[in-house]
C-alpha cells in the first residue's frame, strides 16, 4: 500500500470467494488475468462488476453496477456506507490494525448516504446494498481495479476508497484477499519501482529522509537533490510558461500518449532541447533535436517487473538493427560523456547495484532469474521473494483509512457536447500501437481505428455500422469507423489511442488527478456525427 503495487499475485484470483472488478475490462487489457477470473467463476466464485460499459464479465456478475463515468468514489464510498451502517466490517481487524476509523466512520455515514450516491452514480440503492453485503459477508474477497478507476480527477481517491473496503473487512495479508491495481503496461511497475517518479528514489524511498540519502551516497558517491521533482504534467505546464527547457524522453512518446495533446505539442515545441530515445520514430520526434535509436526487448537482456511485483528476466535473442543500442548502454555512454566514470558492461551489473540501494531487491540478480521470476521484496540471496504482502503486519504499523474525497470530472456532457468519450484498449493492440501496428498478424486483425457507440444513439444520428464518423470537441477532431455495440450505454462513446491517424488523445480532457496528475482519459465531452 502506498507503492501502487499489487499486494498479492494473480494466482490469488483463484483463491478468492468473491471478486470485485471495477474499472477494468481485463478481457481486453489483461487477458491472462481474465482467464484466471473466468476459471475462478467456473469454480463458483462470486462476482461484482462496476463499469459504465456492459463488459463481457458483467454478463457473469452476481451484481452489475453500471455507474456513470467518474463516479467511482461515490460508488465505493456508498458501499462502505452500507458496510459501516450495517456493522458488517471486521471489528477485530479494525480494532487491532486500523487507524483513523472514527473519523472515517463519521465521514462515510454523514456524507455518503445512498441517496446521494445514487444521484452521482445513477445506480439504484438496493443494488449497492446487495453488492456491499455480498462483499462484506464473503470470506475472501479480492478487488481488482484498472485504469477505469485511476484515470480520473479523483483517480487516487478512487484507489483509496477501494483499498478502504478491503481494510474495513480485514481482507489483507490472506490468500484470495486484497485490493489489486492492474498495472497497464508491461514495465510500468518496474519504472516506478526504479524511482522513475519525481517523489521517490528507487524502492519508494524518500529523498527527504537523511538516512536514505546517506545510504544512496555510499553506493553512488554523489549527493542527491532534495528539491521536489516535477511530474510530467508540471514539466509541460512549466515548458509552456517558459520555465522548463530540456527534456530527455526514453521510450515514452509523450506527443502521442499524453492526454490533451494539443497543449502537449505546444509545450514540446517550446522546449530548447528535446532528446527522444526509441525503437521507432515517435510522434515526439517532430519536436526533437536528437533522436537516439535503441534496441528492443528481443535485442538485449534485462528484467521487467509485472503487475504482481514479479521481476522477470528476458534474454537477448537477436542483434539490434544498424547502430541501435540497448538503452542502458546509451545512458552509460552519455554519463561518460558528461564526465562520470560509469562503467557498466552489462545490465546484470546494474541489477546488482539496484539491490545495494534498495533492500527489496537485495536478493535479486540475473543469475537467480534465469529459470523463473521473483516477486519483490526479496531481501537476500536465500529469500524466495514475497507473493503476498502484509501477511505479518503493515509497514507503518497500522492501515490508515483515508477519507476518499470525490472530485467530479472536469467535464460533464452539456448542450454543446452531448457525448462522453472514454478511452480504452483493445485486445489486438497496445497503447500507442507503435509495435502492434507493425506486427502484421495483429494489424490484420484490427487494421483501423474504431469508435464504439450505442446502437440507439447511432440510429438517432444516422450512423451505420462501419460508417466513417467524426468525433470532435473544442480541442480537435478525429475520424473513426463506427462500431455499434449495445454494451455501450447511451451517451457514451468508447475508443482507443492505438492509431497515428486517429489521435484520440487530442480530444482528451485537460483534467488531472488531483494527487497524481494522471490525465482524465476516461471522461471528455465530445460530439459525434457521420461524415
Amino acid at each position: 500500500m502506498g507503492t501502487g503495487a499489487a499486494c498479492v499475485h494473480f494466482e490469488e484470483i483463484l483463491n478468492a470467494e468473491l471478486l470485485f472488478l471495477t474499472g477494468t475490462n481485463s478481457t481486453d487489457a489483461h487477458p491472462i488475468v481474465a482467464q484466471k477470473i473466468s476459471r475462478a467463476l467456473d469454480r463458483g466464485c462470486k462476482l461484482i462488476v462496476a463499469d459504465p460499459r456492459r463488459i463481457a464479465f458483467a454478463d457473469r456478475a452476481n451484481v452489475y453496477l453500471p455507474l456513470r463515468p467518474g463516479s467511482n468514489v461515490p460508488l465505493l464510498n456508498g458501499i462502505a456506507h452500507v458496510i459501516v451502517r450495517e456493522g458488517l466490517y471486521n471489528k477485530e481487524f479494525v480494532e487491532n490494525y486500523v487507524d483513523n476509523f472514527e473519523a472515517y466512520q463519521h465521514y462515510i455515514l454523514s456524507e455518503w448516504d445512498l441517496g446521494r450516491v445514487s444521484r452521482y452514480t445513477g445506480i439504484k440503492p438496493y443494488l449497492i446494498e446487495q453488492a456491499a453485503i455480498m462483499y462484506a459477508t464473503s470470506k475472501r474477497a479480492l478487488i481488482l481495479w484498472g485504469l477505469g478507476l485511476s484515470e480520473h480527477r479523483s483517480g487516487s481517491y478512487g484507489a483509496m476508497a477501494a483499498a478502504n473496503l478491503a481494510t474495513l473487512c480485514g481482507f489483507w495479508g490472506k490468500p484470495g484477499c486484497g485490493a489489486m491495481p492492474l498495472r497497464g503496461q508491461n514495465n510500468v511497475q518496474g519504472a516506478c519501482d526504479m524511482g522513475g517518479l519525481p517523489y521517490v528514489l528507487p524502492g519508494y524511498q524518500s529523498y527527504k529522509d537523511d538516512g536514505v540519502r546517506m545510504r544512496f551516497k555510499e553506493v553512488w558517491k554523489e549527493d542527491l537533490p532534495v528539491v521536489d521533482g516535477k511530474t510530467l504534467p508540471t514539466m509541460l505546464r512549466d515548458a509552456l510558461a517558459g520555465k522548463f527547457k530540456a527534456l530527455y524522453a526514453m521510450g515514452y512518446d509523450v506527443a502521442m500518449s499524453h492526454g490533451n495533446l494539443g497543449e502537449v505539442w505546444r509545450a514540446l515545441s517550446n522546449l530548447e532541447f528535446l532528446v527522444v530515445q526509441d525503437i521507432f520514430m515517435p510522434l515526439s520526434g517532430k519536436y526533437a533535436h536528437v533522436v537516439l535509436p535503441s534496441a528492443c526487448v528481443y535485442e538485449k537482456s534485462g528484467t521487467y517487473t509485472n503487475g504482481e511485483r514479479r521481476v522477470q528476466f528476458f534474454e537477448k535473442a537477436v542483434n539490434p538493427p544498424g547502430d541501435a543500442k540497448p538503452d542502458w548502454l546509451i545512458i552509460t555512454e552519455l554519463a561518460r560523456k558528461l564526465g562520470f566514470s560509469w562503467n557498466y558492461t552489462s545490465s546484470s551489473e546494474v541489477a546488482l547495484e539496484i539491490g545495494k540501494v534498495w533492500q527489496g531487491w537485495g536478493g535479486i540478480n540475473h543469475s537467480r532469474l534465469k529459470e523463473r521470476g521473483i516477486q519483490w521484496p526479496c531481501l537476500d540471496e536465500d529469500h524466495p521473494g514475497t507473493s503476498i504482502l502484509f501477511t505479518t503486519g503493515f509497514p507503518k504499523g497500522k492501515v490508515h483509512l483515508a477519507l476518499a474525497k470525490h472530485v467530479p470530472p472536469l467535464e460533464e456532457p452539456n448542450e454543446a457536447f452531448t457525448f462522453t468519450l472514454v478511452t480504452v484498449r483493445n485486445l489486438e493492440h497496445y497503447n500507442i500501437g507503435s509495435m502492434t501496428r507493425r506486427s502484421s498478424s495483429l494489424l490484420n486483425l484490427y487494421p483501423e481505428p474504431l469508435v464504439d457507440i450505442n446502437p440507439d444513439d447511432a440510429e438517432r444520428l444516422g450512423i451505420l455500422e462501419g460508417a466513417k464518423v467524426r468525433v470532435w470537441n473544442n480541442r480537435g477532431e478525429v475520424f473513426y469507423r463506427a462500431r455499434l455495440d449495445k454494451r455501450v450505454p447511451k451517451g457514451l462513446v468508447f475508443t482507443d489511442f492505438h492509431f497515428v491517424d486517429a489521435l484520440t488523445n487530442l480530444l482528451v480532457s485537460p483534467g488531472l488527478d488531483e494527487l497524481m496528475e494522471t490525465p482524465e482519459y476516461k471522461v471528455s465531452v465530445v460530439n459525434i456525427e457521420p461524415v
Binding site: P31, R183, G229
Partner: protein, 816 residues
Amino acid sequence: MIRVRINDRELNANPGDLLLEIARREGIYIPSLCYLKNGSVPEKPCGLCVVKVAGEGIVRSCSYKVEREIEVSTEDPEVNAIRKKILEGLVSNHYGDCKAPCHTPCPGGLNIQGYIGFIAKGDFKASLALIKERLPLPASVGRVCPRFCEPVCRRALVDEAVAINNLKRFVADYCMENGELPLEVPPLNGKKVAIVGGGPAGLSAAYFLRLEGFEVTIFDREKEAGGLLRYGIPAFKLPKDVVKKEVEGILNLGVEFQGGKIWGRDFSLKDLKEAGYGAVLLAIGARKEKLYGFEGEGLAESALKFLLDFGRGEVDNKAYTKKRIGILGCSYTAIELARVLRRLDCEVEVIYPRSRTEVSVPLREIGYAEREGVKFTYVTAPLKLIKGGGFHLTLAKTTLSEKRELKILPETAFEREYDLVFRAWGELPSDEFKAFGDIEAKLELNPDGTIKINSQTMQTSEPWIFAAGDFVHGAKTVIQAVASGRRAANMIASYLESKPFERAAVTVKFDFSRGKRAEEFDSNFLDLFVPSERMHLKEREPVERVRDFEEVLIGFTEEEAFKEANRCLKCGCLGIHKCDFREILIKEDVGVAKSRKKMKYAIQKDHPLIEVDSNKCVACSKCVRSCPYSAIFFSVVNKGTPQEVITFRFTEACVNCGACVDVCPTGALTKKELLIPYSRNQSKPVKSVCTFCGVGCNLTVWVKNGTILEVTGRDLPPNRGYTCVKGRFGWEFYKSKDRLTQPLLRKSINDDFRAVSWEEALDYVAENLLKIRDKYGPEALGFLCSARTSNEENFLMQKLARTIFKTNNVDCPARV
C-alpha cells in the same frame, strides 16, 4: 513416499502421482498424444501411454495414480504391440507431406520451402541466412545450378514449378547489395586444417570449419580462389565479381588463402603434417580429360585447358576469332566453350554421339547456346581427325543397340572441315598425385583410379586425410561439390575433436507424402490452389549478348521475387517442429508407407491466424481441452478406423490467442505467419517476457540464424504457457523497416534530421543538457523513464537525472 520400479529403475513417488508424470520426471520414455497436465481427460483417449503393471496388466499411465509399491514395464512386447496397432491406425488416416518434395533431391539439402517462405514474408536477409546454413556460395549456385529440385516441385502439377533457383539468386544478389545478417564467428580453437584446392568443395569446407573455430588454410595452384567458378565457368553465366565477392565473404571470416601453391610441386602431404595441420582435405577437382577414343583424337585441342587459360586471361583472342569450330562432346565444358567462341564471332558446331534428350547438362543450357547461334549435331560420332591447313573430321551417325549401347553406323560416314576442333567429353579426377610423396603413395585408389574414401566419414585410407568434391566423385556440379565439402568439414571437426562421426539418421521411412507420382496424386488437393504464372528471368537479346561477356540473365526484381515466392504451395508440414506424432513413429519404428493418399478434409484457411488441416489431425482433442475460451467445436466419430470423420470449427468465442496451435502435436493446426519448416533442436529457445501489458507473460522466442521464427508461451507463472494474441503473434515489429537504426540530429526543429555517429550525437546531447543546466538551473531539465524499457535502464535514467544533473524531475508513464 512410495517406491516404484519402472523397468530396472527404483524410483520414489508420492501417493497419487500419475505414473506418466513419474516416468517423465525421470526421463523414462512413454509415448503419449493426448495427455495434458491440466487434468482434463479426452473423451476418446489415445491409448499410447499404456504400460504393464505387474499383477494388474496393461494400464494407461496417464490416468494411473500410484497408490502402492508397483513394478512397471514400459517396453513389454504386449505393450509394444498395442502401441503399434494404434499408430498404424493413425498412419492410415494421415494425409500430408512431412517434408516438401523439393527438399529430397537437393544435394545441398537446402530448406527450400523455408527460404522461399522468408521471401514471401519480405525478409530477404533471413532467407539468405537460411540458405547459407548449408550453402556458402548462393549467388554462384543461384546462377549455375542444374536445379535438381524444380522437376519435382509440386507446383508443376498445378501449372509450372516454382522458380526455386532464381529465388535463391535473388536473395543472394539482394544481400550483396544490402548486406547480410551478421554471423557469429567463434574464436580460433587452436586446431589447424589444410585444404588443398579452393573450388566450391574446398571453400565450403573452409567456411564450415571456420565457423566451428578451426584455423583453416587453403592451398591452390591458381592465383585466386574459386576453382571452376572462377576459372572454368564463363563470366556471361557467372560474373567474375560475383564469384569474387562470394569468395571474399568466406575468406574474410578469417580463412587463409595461399594462391599459386601447387600440391606435388610446392608441397607434399608430409610437409603439411610437419607444419602442424591436424587434418587435410583434398579437393582439387577433376582435371583429367575424358577421351572418346578415335583416330587422331590427340590432334584436337583440350576444351578444358582452353577455358582455364581463358579464365586466367592467357588466351590470345585473335587466334580464335571468326573461326569455324567443331566441339566434340556435350559436357558443361563443351557448351561453355561454344558460347565463349560465339562471343569471338566463331561459327560453332557441337557434335554429340547421343540424342538431345541424353545430354548430361540441363536442356535449358543448350537453349541459351542455340539462341546464341551454336549449332548442335546429335547422334553423330567422330571417326577420324586429320590435320592439314585446317582440320578434316570424319563423322558418322549412331544408333542404340538392343542393349542400349551406342553403335556407330559406318555406312553413314561424312566429312567436315573446321579451322579448329576441340575435345570436350568431360573430366575425371586424376591419380597423378600418387607420385607426389610418401604419404600420397600410400593413399588407396578405387578400381577406376579415383581416390578411395569411406563414404560415411569422407576419410581416405589415411584417417587424417579427407577428400571431397569432383576430386572424389568426378565431374559433377557445384552444389554437389558444396555438399561434399560441408560433409567433409563436419567429419573433420568430429575427427579433430575426437567425437564420434555423426551418422545422419535415415528417416525417409517416416516421411509422410501426399504422393510422389503425378498419376497417383489426389487432384482434389491440387484444386485448392489457383493457377498463377511463373516468373521468368529476363534474357538479354542473343544478337546483343554475343557481343560481350556481360551476364545473360537478369535477376528478379523484389516484386517479381515476392510474387514468385507466393506461388509456393508450402508443401512441407509447417508443424514438423512440434510433431510428437512423428517422433513417436520413429521411436516405435512404425513406417508410414500405408498412409492415406486421398484428401479427406479441405484445408481451412478462414481463421485469421491459424490454418487447420484435419487430414493431419490425430484426434487427441488437446486443442479443445487447452482453449481457455471453449472456442473450438470438435467431434470425431469412428476414431482410429478408416471411417473416421473429424469435424473441427472455431467458434465466435475465439480470441486468437494461439494456445491451441502450440499444443497441437501434429501439423493439423499451424500458425499462418510461420512459413519456415524448422526443427526445434536446430533453433535456440530464448527466454523472454512479453513487452505489452502488465501481466508480463513468460515467452519462449525461437531463434535461428539471428532471426525470430515464432513465439510460444512458457510454462511459468503468471501465464503458465498461455498468452493473449499479442504475446504469440505480436513480435514482428522488431523487423519493421521503420526501425530507427542511426542517431539523428538537428540544430533546430525546423531543419531536417541528419544521421550522425553515436560520438557526435552523445557529445551534442551532453553539451546541450549541461548548457541548459548551467543557464537555467537543474529545475529546467526533465528525464522520462519508460514502461517498455528494463528495470536496469529505468534505474540508470533516474540515476543520471539525480546524480549528474541533481534534479528529481524524473517521471514515467505511470499515468498512461
